[in-house]
Symmetry: none
Subunit: 206 residues, 2 copies
């Protein structure tokens, strides 16, 4: 018996975790078998035994529903973050102007990223070719460093826009992804220009 988990064992362990998180009590052998579409309980039973031997689960004798999960440090708090939803980006960034806050929303940390982030509701159709629509919510990671092709939130003369970023020899090109709109050019040392952050995600509600 290796000390590693096979893919299947991993899935079963995860299923136990999920069930516990979802229901507040652990699953039975049969429930697990059903989740995996298996008609017999013996297979799952064997896998649970292995998971116990490997120390990932504990169990209280023959009692039903007494599977305990061993490791798993709290998880919840660390996997979720609350971000503000802004109706528009304002001058005065990067300190967020909470004036325009529409509300808050919980996001999986996987999506919020390590640095400061916020959510921004899109106005207008300038990014229609990038499949970003009016009303969509963007996940914006606040940063000054961006690479060619990134979709950025830029602040130009206190006007905020969503554009694709391209650095050219002596200027920056802000490219809308809409055939009907023209790119904006910003000279190298134009004073009133800032990159607020880059778009790392998109949320849309139907």
């Amino acid at each position: 018996m290796s000390t590693q988990l096979t893919p299947k064992q991993e899935k079963v362990l995860q299923a136990v975790r999920d069930f516990q998180a979802q229901n507040g009590f652990p699953p039975t052998v049969r429930e697990l078998a059903e989740m995996f579409g298996q008609s017999s309980t013996a297979g799952i039973h064997k896998i649970l035994q292995i998971l116990r031997e490997k120390g990932h689960l504990v169990k209280d004798g023959r009692k039903s529903r007494s599977l305990g999960i061993v490791d798993q440090g709290d998880l919840h708090e660390d996997r979720v973050r609350s971000l503000p939803i802004l109706g528009q980006v304002q001058a005065g960034m990067p300190q967020l102007a909470y004036e325009e806050k529409e509300g808050d929303m919980f996001i999986d940390s996987e999506w919020a990223g390590p640095s400061e982030s916020f959510l921004l509701r899109v106005r207008g159709h300038s990014m229609i070719d990038a499949d970003i629509r009016d009303g969509d919510i963007l996940v914006v990671r606040q940063t000054q460093t961006c690479r060619n092709g990134d979709i950025v939130i830029a602040l130009l003369d206190d006007e905020a826009t969503v554009k694709r970023f391209y650095k050219e020899h002596d200027r920056i090109r802000l490219q809308p992804e809409n055939p009907n709109m023209q790119p904006i050019y910003v000279e190298r040392d134009y004073p009133n220009f800032h990159i607020i952050g880059i778009v790392s995600g998109l949320l849309r509600k139907f």
Copy 2:
């Protein structure tokens, strides 16, 4: 039946809470009876029934150890839900087949909706005109009732697809939002056809 709890009921409820906190899973009727030094389970059973009627506990049918504690609205738990991400929809729904699970993700309850939901990774470009791209993740609310124009997950002969739903006189039209693709027509009483759910949201990671 008053809405208040008697001292005894209070004690039993507290015992359930303690047991859950201590063991990670809920107590059985007999265990509770033992805790209170009672030789019969019927008394505790009756009290548990009352606690359920008064809304302090919930329980899943006849299942053992399925007592859930209601109040204690930690806020966090209520505003966030964990949904599985599926790589594809399989035959055998609506019981989700865990085989195809890619992982989990926390979603704001605002987006997950009240009924059963899951996340589905999009394969292919059939909905490109609806600005849904290959690789996007859809929030799917499991339901059989959908209206014309809804974007649905449909299961046709064990093949799952994302299409726009239109009910016509004697058939259903599943319309891809891609000019290069043809609609699919399903006759009224075609046997191997199911609506899995409707798409209520979209998540995209850049």
